[in-house]
Symmetry: C2
Subunit: 329 residues, 2 copies
Amino acid sequence: MLKRVLEQLRPAEAASLGPGDDCAVLTSTGDLVVTSDTMIEGPDFRLAWHSGYELGWKLAATNLSDVASMGARATALTVSFACPSDTPVELLAEVSRGLDAACAELAPGCGVIGGDLSRAPMLFAAVTAMGDLEGRAPVTRSAARAGDVVAYAGDLGLAGLGLSLLFANCADANGEAQSAGLAELRSQHGAALSAQFAPSPPIHLGVAASEAGATAMMDVSDGLALDANRMARASNVTLELSSSEIIRSFGAQRGVKVPLEAILEGGEDHGLLACFPKDIELPTGFHPIGAVRERQDAPVQVDGKSYAPRGWDPYTEYTPGLTTSKERA
Amino acid sequence: MLKRVLEQLRPAEAASLGPGDDCAVLTSTGDLVVTSDTMIEGPDFRLAWHSGYELGWKLAATNLSDVASMGARATALTVSFACPSDTPVELLAEVSRGLDAACAELAPGCGVIGGDLSRAPMLFAAVTAMGDLEGRAPVTRSAARAGDVVAYAGDLGLAGLGLSLLFANCADANGEAQSAGLAELRSQHGAALSAQFAPSPPIHLGVAASEAGATAMMDVSDGLALDANRMARASNVTLELSSSEIIRSFGAQRGVKVPLEAILEGGEDHGLLACFPKDIELPTGFHPIGAVRERQDAPVQVDGKSYAPRGWDPYTEYTPGLTTSKERA
């Protein structure tokens, strides 16, 4: 099984020793960034809806976006995978192909350098991603300054729309995922479903934002409003968002009309929220959506009014009784 | 829950930014080593037998030994943890205390720099460990040379003995773990049970072996004979083990008599198997157990005779019908 997995993977350029020994060996120019993110069958994904390839792609993309958001160049992933003993080898090979393809497309040179494979009652994938800061200072979420421009790059609300469509059209009354109707939904709403199953965040813009002088940056995984709230609290400022700027740049994406509420509350897009000094030119791909102010009563305002994010979790939203304790460290 | 976890953890010395942002930031002098190892409730551990503290300790120790075996100094861990939603917060705090204590004792300066926390039907912990080579070349398992001395540092067979005692005394007819009788077993066989629950491999000897000129090294997690077999195949040599040398140094450990078969086949000790040029003085803590020869028919010989390792897995040994696909990449 491990052999089939490894066959799918191109080596990481920064790895002088890949899988097969007790450790892989990775070169870094000095400071590197490290992040971990886990996806578990049930709370985080449902194989009735998407392929193993898409799962692998999303696993890579969601971790690469965390690396990008620090202004680092992603260099390597490790993947700890667990699955039932009757899992077809071909499913794992597909997941591996998705991991490999996402690295090649979103972060060329980055690759899987190691991991392990265990048995569990459901699919479980824990990814750790590493990136090289190449001498740049890390861009944190805690250094936004009053007067900065707030900008965003990537899809915004599209992945959440995709999930709404899935629960509305391809789930039973209990919220259980079903594949009936999926092909039709994919043909009608390809952009939203692709954003949900295999997001393509603008990973390359992480380094570009850092080089352009971004003061703060983070990846938006839980919805713009909630993540803006986190950045505002960490920086002790208020992010004032402008609905007209948001709608101008994100009201239509990939041919899909996306309403303001979906933009503010939808999760899993994994694009980059960043603050820039107001006198600089934004890197191509970033769109202004507001301004940073001295801290007001609320960490986030929309058009000058306090905005309380709902707090977004795809599966608690849609599946009554199912709560998740997922938090990121 | 995350707050209680983080309260238990000392910062890693090499981390200029710890948990809380999209990534942690880690300093490395250049090349670093990376390894991942996962422990899942059921195949890998059973909470009826040991504390959360011991689980955390073992999670750290088993990953630190992989870092040590490359000749690197361990600097950081990430921990992806998943558990049922009714898991007591205090259990996670205990696991964290164990992780922290093992780092402080076995690899001072190393610490947890990030991770994530999710929900799953059973406990699941995926650790990734990183280490700094500090300018040294990595010591792989594939460069043992005919003429080298084979040596080992750490416990050998003791952790496996502990597990045998547990299945013999604290499991029902189906191999299900039970806590009845555990206190008595701990009082009578403390050394073997400690080796099983909270191993203390000689992590500091990884760097010492590299500096002394070790040609090959690996951590012994699946039994001396099986891991020696892997090293011999990777290096295209035969490891000729000497039962008299083995018994002289490992026949009694921590006051416990350990038979040759337990030494050769017991797993989970996580000590260091290394090959050294025959003219050097072994670092204190390493004991000679044989010699490297040109490749013979068998990768491993004991006293000149071919030796076929059984292939060791604690839970398939003891629990009929339970097979595991665990493999390390």
